[in-house]
């Protein structure tokens, strides 16, 4: 399926034909680090938001010069990509305080650039987030977002208007609704799409212009309706640390399972919630990012996260849940223990897995763990 390939291929590389075409037309690109960065403001500035990731890195030699030994391998790979010039196409980057590993990229990337070991985009900003909710937290986040907009306008000589934001909300909500439809298809008894393809499609949504993406995804959804679905395989869900490596999901599926659901930040958690289209658009955007399915960085909100995981597991009729965390990712690691306790209590089998981030590091061990889990499910 050619259309499928077009929407999956960009997930396997860092730069891609869409970004290249955008740059060729003189467009600017801003990299951002995760699901708490309000992409709409970048889009409204006429700039392409691009989610940076770790894929493609095959070593962490430079990253190891700047971070300690207990840092997440995804973040190390991301820094290595910067050092290897794979992000040189970026005109800017926003590092959002999502976790302690990621936030220090703001320090290490700058230092690596100072040492001549990486290219630093001319626009390089830190976006600080609180951890609490309530009026004062919303105000702090709003102030921080307005500061970011001002910096962006000043640097790129652009204006982020109310109309631009409203338009961005419409476009982004459309992407989110289309992705929700894609995920609804995955709930069917005959699943028309593999988990590997679905992850690729979601990753691509973060690295190409949304208008074009929406058109292509809409067409693909039409085609998927005609696909003969997958049946007779154990249905799995993946929950846990960041993963932009489609090969991890392929590994599970090659063993005879089909992944039908997830709670991942390159997955359901990045598109699940919509932005309110009425009222002040900036407030609506900030609220959406603040109120979306919380990452484990938000403390005291386990029950919200668990409700989401349980509901998705149930609507996906999953036979088991893989709870994975990248080594040293304590936020997901600790949550996974609680998920394991609570899902098992509801009769849903779980596999607890600690791993290193790609490219399929530790493949033999992972395969054995997945096989054993599938045997448990099939019994």
């Amino acid at each position: 399926m050619e259309l499928m390939e077009k929407l999956v291929q960009p997930a396997k590389t860092l730069s891609n034909p869409y970004v290249e075409a955008w740059k060729k037309k003189g467009g600017k690109v801003i990299g951002y680090s995760g699901t708490y960065t309000p992409e709409e403001i970048i889009y409204a500035a006429g700039i392409l938001p691009y989610r940076i990731g770790g894929r493609g890195a095959t070593k962490v030699t430079i990253a190891d010069m700047y971070v300690g030994p207990v840092i997440c391998s995804y973040v190390k790979c991301l820094l290595e990509n910067a050092a290897d010039g794979r992000f040189d196409f970026l005109d800017g980057a926003i590092i959002t305080y999502e976790c302690d590993h990621m936030r220090r990229i703001f320090d290490t990337w700058r230092r690596a650039a100072k040492d001549g070991n990486a290219h630093l985009p001319a626009f390089f900003e830190y976006y600080g987030l609180p951890h609490s909710r309530g009026e004062h937290a919303s105000k702090l986040l709003m102030d921080e977002t307005q500061r970011l907009i001002k910096e962006l306008e000043k640097h790129f000589g652009v204006e982020v208007t109310e109309e631009g934001l409203r338009n961005a909300i419409k476009v982004y909500n459309k992407t989110r609704k289309l992705l929700r439809k894609l995920y609804e298809l995955r709930e069917k008894d005959k699943v028309p799409i593999t988990g590997t393809e679905a992850l690729g499609i979601v990753i691509t949504s973060t690295v190409m212009p949304k208008d074009d993406y929406n058109k292509q995804l809409e067409r693909l959804l039409g085609e998927l309706d005609k696909r003969e679905g997958i049946t007779g395989k154990p249905r799995l869900m993946i929950v846990g640390s960041v993963n932009d490596d489609v090969e991890l999901v392929r590994l599970v599926e090659d063993l005879g399972a089909v992944v039908v659901a997830d709670s991942l930040c390159f997955g359901a958690r990045c598109f699940w919630n919509l932005v309110e289209e009425e009222g002040d658009p900036l407030h609506a955007i900030v609220n959406r990012y603040w109120e979306h399915i919380p990452c484990p960085r938000m403390f005291g909100e386990y029950s919200r996260r668990y409700s989401f995981v349980r509901d998705i597991a149930k609507s996906g009729k999953v036979d088991g849940v893989i709870l994975e965390n990248i080594r040293f990712c304590d936020l997901h690691g600790a949550d996974n223990t609680l998920y394991g306790r609570d899902l098992e209590a509801e009769g849903i089998p779980t596999l607890r897995l600690e791993r290193q981030y790609g490219p399929l590091a530790d493949i033999g061990r992972l395969k054995t763990r997945f096989q054993a889990f599938l045997e448990r499910i099939r019994r």
Binding site: M65, Y66, V67, G68, P69, V70, I71, C72, V75, Y97, C99, D100, H101, R103, R104, F106, D107, T108, R111, Y126, G128, L129, P130, H131, S132, G134, H136, A137, L140, D143, E144, P296, R297, F299, G300, Y302, N325, R327, F328, D330, L331, G333, A334, D335, N336, T337, L338, G340, R341, R352, E354
Partner: protein, 440 residues
């Protein structure tokens, strides 16, 4: 007795020894071996006993226990009749008390699914609590939000694991002295006070709050006086006073016992200063430990430094964050703002919440102190759990070398777990660094 604990195989055996263990015999032996420390030992011991006594009596007396972080001064809890239980304090008692004393409790948490990469500062104490060897807390106050994910996650985990209420006291993403960030934190602090009122059913009592604030104010004054005396060459402040200073603050800030400890330390140091007597007759190095020290082997860390001519001028836990606020006891409001200010400027909460080179952050604070105290080397010791500092320490140390012109050393170790790097290995690395790099 130490050997018995190491050999203990059953929970019953461990339980029988817990009471004795929490007396921290290893540390006490270390302190009593040094005659000049003995004056401080007894008030410190009395304060520690009160802390533990309060814990074991809390539920019998109808009081609530709050599971709270070391980087959050507990004065407000004493003012509200809530008993503080800091996992870091318990971990340190165990680890300083007897060799290997903490291991089985760290491992206990691994056994229930806590990632082994989480911080041992909490894991030891949490292991003790979850094994039921001390009273279980009634609520969780997370004072590490914004400065440490791992620490915060443990608090989040304990709340969910024990099904007890949780309150976040969030340090905002940047630091300022009296601006929007400070205002934000004051609101978080008041949110916590309301939470405590709700959990205990008691209203905040202004007189009690004032008593605690007045004690906290005196303690701050002694700490500030001791800080001033650190400038002297040779330094008259015994290394282990750093441990006692931050231990006292973490356990008992706002209590008269804590004031007594601080006062005694100040008097000892002042007298030494008057006599022109440094802890060392000649300082081979004036060292800054930019994050942690090492909490095993009966506190040998502090004593060993001095026996090797290394003057401990700056230990981050003891002297970072003792500025930028004053305690004003005029009204309830000013007192809450003062205590919020104290917590907002607490070590770790203040310095590592934002980018390293931003105002009031790690580099700026180290640079200020290094210049003021004439420091000639900087050493990092941490834990495997500390992702936030490990994420930035190499950049920080390079910057210190370049901008302050002092040599640095990063040691891969765990302050509470000698299985990562044994203390003798750490000791050798420090010694080699001082001999070959610092002492020219």
């Amino acid at each position: 007795m130490n050997e018995k604990l190491i050999q203990a195989r059953t929970d019953k055996e461990v339980e029988d020894m817990m009471e004795e263990l929490l007396v921290t015999p290893g540390l006490m032996e270390t302190l009593l071996l040094e005659p000049y420390l003995s004056e401080v030992v007894w008030p410190f011991q009395e304060m520690r006993s009160s802390y533990l006594q309060n814990l074991s009596n809390a539920h019998k007396e109808g009081k609530k226990i709050a599971f709270e972080s070391f980087c959050f001064p507990p004065a407000i809890l004493y003012a509200m009749d809530v008993v503080p239980l800091s996992p870091e304090v318990i971990s340190s008692f165990l680890s300083l008390g007897v060799p290997k004393g903490i291991f089985r409790f760290i491992d206990y948490t691994t056994g229930i699914g806590v990632p082994e990469s989480m911080c041992t500062a909490q894991r030891g104490g949490v292991g003790v609590i979850l094994s039921g060897l001390i009273e279980k807390p009634d609520m969780v106050l997370n004072g590490a939000a914004g400065s440490c994910d791992t620490n915060s996650k443990m608090f989040d985990f304990v709340s969910e694991y024990l099904h007890i209420p949780f309150c976040n006291i969030d340090a905002p993403p940047y630091w300022d002295e009296d601006g929007e960030m400070t205002k934000y934190y004051r609101k978080e602090y008041r949110k916590m006070v309301s939470f405590l009122e709700e959990q205990t059913g008691n209203k905040l009592d202004e007189d009690k709050l004032r008593q605690c604030c007045e004690e906290a104010k005196k303690q701050d004054e002694y700490v500030a006086e001791i800080y001033d005396l650190r400038r002297a060459v040779p330094n008259p402040v015994p290394a282990v006073f750093n441990l006692i200073m931050f231990g006292t603050r973490f356990m008992s800030s706002g209590t008269p016992q804590a004031t007594e400890v601080m006062k005694t330390m100040y008097e000892v140091v002042k007298e030494r200063y008057k006599r022109g007597e440094g802890v060392l007759p000649r300082e081979r190095a004036r060292a800054a430990f930019v994050y942690l020290s090492h909490f095993t082997m009966g506190g040998e860390f502090w004593i060993w430094l001095e026996h090797n001519g290394i003057s401990l001028i700056m230990e981050a836990l003891a002297i970072l964050g003792h500025q930028h606020y004053t305690i004003d006891t005029s009204t309830t409001d000013t007192m809450l703002n003062s205590l919020a200010g104290q917590a907002h400027n607490m070590v770790m909460t203040k310095q590592i919440r934002g980018p390293l080179d931003y105002p009031g952050q790690w580099f700026e604070d180290i640079a200020t102190l290094a210049k003021d105290l004439n420091i000639d080397c900087a050493i990092y010791l941490g834990t495997l759990g500390c992702k936030n500092t490990w994420g930035g320490i190499k950049v920080l140390m390079k910057t210190i070398e370049e901008e302050l012109g002092i040599p640095t050393l990063i040691i891969h170790s765990d302050a509470w777990d000698d299985r990562v790097t044994p203390w003798p290995t750490i000791r050798d690395q420090i010694e080699e660094f001082v001999n070959t790099v610092v002492v020219q």
